[in-house]
Subunit: 210 residues, 2 copies
């Protein structure tokens, strides 16, 4: 990319990508910024501004070409590159992630699933074998790993951070429900389910006040 | 509450609550906005501004009283009220949610787990029995239900929206990885895991460019 795009704009791109993907599935070939605006509940001017960052694909009187816009945003998001994921913690959440079909659609591949529970050893989820955590170092040395998903219990998370950092895995997808202390060059994407719950709680409390 | 607090401020409250909870666990009784700023990676002036919305508990030279601030934010977020949750879809993700210990800490209680798979009938997750979806209407009529968690496959989601709306369940916690079409008075909190994946993908692509 020739110019830097602000983080705020990037944060909104996955949502555009999702909506455009839905339109594509429905066979819709083009859409005006006004229609996209109504669909996504964002102002048309915000949409035009956001998409102009990528060279302005919209044409007066025609709108956006859904397929080419979808493809361009996909490329910007790096979805044409395959990323290898290991899942650390093969409990329900880890297994739910391993089964997450969106992985493949977004260019992600689960290459390993690790746990400490010997009962799980050798079992498979979607053709990925569950390995024991003491096999982790060896595995990472022999396989390309881009992302470690943290689905282990919270009290094991910081310990695994140190391991991930020493093994030079570049990114963490964190479900451990805590902030991780990390060097600046490790990418982290937090999924704080408890924050989401608290927002729900607030909205319900607010509603009941009325 | 006597005054309306902006959505942007509310969105940040769960994070404050989480950090303050961690400090409490460590036995820390008070903290300055500067120390909280360094910890949370937010400017001290933002912190002061945000917390002033709730009456400004900070005192010059003393800082914030962690316990009382934590409690006040908890009350604002409605965490002292018990919310009843049903989980629709007892696959791995549904079971992971049923096992989610944060539920109890935030005042949420899983009261029912539903699925269409007859093999799951009668099985339990954390003392909550899995029921069949045809028992759902009757269950909601006899039990208070505040939130329906959507952990079913994407193609079943919109159908369940209609049911939830007709049963007057006030809120949906949506993991179905799609936007739901909803009446305005239904509260929805989306957890878009695929958006989070795309952000990771972007960050990795960006890193590799360097």
């Amino acid at each position: 990319m020739s110019k830097d795009i602000s983080n705020a704009v990037i944060r909104r791109m996955p949502r555009y990508y999702r909506y455009l993907g839905d339109l594509l599935e429905k066979g819709i070939e083009r859409i005006s910024s006004n229609d996209l605006s109504a669909l996504m509940n964002v102002t048309a001017s915000q949409i035009r501004q956001d998409l102009n960052n990528f060279g302005g694909f919209g044409q007066q009187g025609y709108g956006y070409n859904v397929k080419s816009l979808h493809k361009t945003i996909g490329t910007i998001l790096g979805l044409d590159i395959t990323h290898h994921v290991v899942i650390l913690g093969a409990g329900n959440l880890g297994r739910a992630l391993a089964n997450f079909v969106q992985f493949e659609r977004r260019g992600f591949k689960v290459v390993g699933l690790f746990d400490v529970n010997p009962e799980l050893k050798g079992r498979s989820v979607r053709n990925v074998k569950i390995m024991m955590i003491d096999e982790f170092d060896g595995f990472v040395k022999e396989n390309k790993v881009d992302i470690a998903a943290f689905t282990m219990p919270r009290d094991k998370a910081q310990l695994m951070v140190d391991k991930v950092v020493s093994l030079k895995i570049p990114a963490i997808w964190n479900f451990a429900n805590m902030e991780l202390s990390l060097p600046d060059d490790v990418i982290v994407e937090n999924v704080h389910l408890s924050d989401s719950l608290m927002q729900l709680s607030y909205d319900l409390a607010k509603r009941n006040e009325k």
